[in-house]
């Protein structure tokens, strides 16, 4: 997505510098919400203040809104058809594999020794959710606090000794 934005806003329209785009991307990633929306909102804000941000948000959300509305109507209409239903059942299997693949990719970096603490957070989050049915919100807040603590302790260690 960032190459797309670079092409349009930096090169073609020259509304913003590449460096600025990258800084905004970093902010967008530090914030919750969809990265696409955040980054676009930031660019809008940077260019035209709040009005720019709102327009950017609308511009980002309206196409999916329209497209998904159509798709929903078709889905609703066709899902009772035996073959459409079968296709979706098959695709669910595909999605299951895709998400599993993604999890493996995302988890791999944490299986190194120096990332052990974070691996514990990962396994802990899974366990709390799966076995103890903790709310996602609670797990996220706990892990945020743990992250701050771990980072704090590590920084202290580096400074202290």
């Amino acid at each position: 997505m960032i190459p797309l934005l670079r092409e349009r806003f930096v090169k073609k329209l020259e509304w913003i510098e590449e460096e600025e785009l990258i800084k905004l991307a970093a902010i967008g990633q530090s914030s919750p919400g969809a990265m696409v929306v955040n980054l676009n909102v930031l660019i809008g804000y940077r260019l035209l203040g709040i009005r720019g941000a709102i327009c950017a948000a609308l511009g980002t959300a309206i196409p999916p809104l329209i497209i998904l509305t159509f798709i929903f109507y078709f889905y609703d209409l066709l899902i009772n058809n035996r073959y459409v239903s079968s296709a979706f059942r098959g695709m669910r299997a595909g999605v299951a594999a895709v998400i599993a693949d993604i999890v493996v990719n995302l988890a791999a970096p944490y299986l190194k020794k120096e990332k052990m603490l974070y691996a514990f957070i990962m396994i802990g989050a899974f366990s709390l959710s799966w076995f103890f049915h903790f709310n996602v919100a609670v797990i996220i807040v706990i892990s945020g606090i743990l992250g701050a603590l771990v980072g704090f302790v590590r920084d202290r260690r580096r400074q202290g000794t």
Binding site: N38, D76, I123, G124, A137
Partner: protein, 189 residues
Amino acid sequence: MTLIELFFSFCLIGVLAFGGGYAVLPLIQEQCVEIHGWISMAEFSDLVTISQITPGPIAINSATFVGMKVAGIGGAVVASVGFMIPPFIIVTILFAIYRKYGNQKIIKNILEGLKPAVVGLIAVAAVNVILEAVWGEAEVSIFSADVLTAVITLGAFFFLRKLKTGVIATILTCGAISVFFEIVMSYFA
């Protein structure tokens, strides 16, 4: 009443959606399937499928789909707006902070803690999606498994991991295989 529920549910999703594209999956599943029962686990999986093929973030796609199902176009709009408002506010605040004080280490540390947790939560969603695909509403046991779906899932996983096939191609092929068998079966019934 439902519109308000939709709005606040997706606001909550918006506030907690840290960690990239798939981070919203466990959040949407918890809110829309488990807590409010707006969509079934099967529909949730279909939502992910549809999102692979359409433009736009999964969250907005989901907000539209769930919103439509629950309360028509008004629901779709309310849910989408609900999702976007908290990040809108937070991102503007962060922009101001970064501008004035530069990158904040504590934010980085918090995110470092959040990322692995999100992976763990996506893993939970993954397990749920797999269980739904292979066992559906049935109780999980060796005998109640849908063998065809189980084979397709394992095969797809193999193709994705070892042969690095594309996501969309894999999902569509799985659908095609399922339809093929459905057509074949219809000649025997």
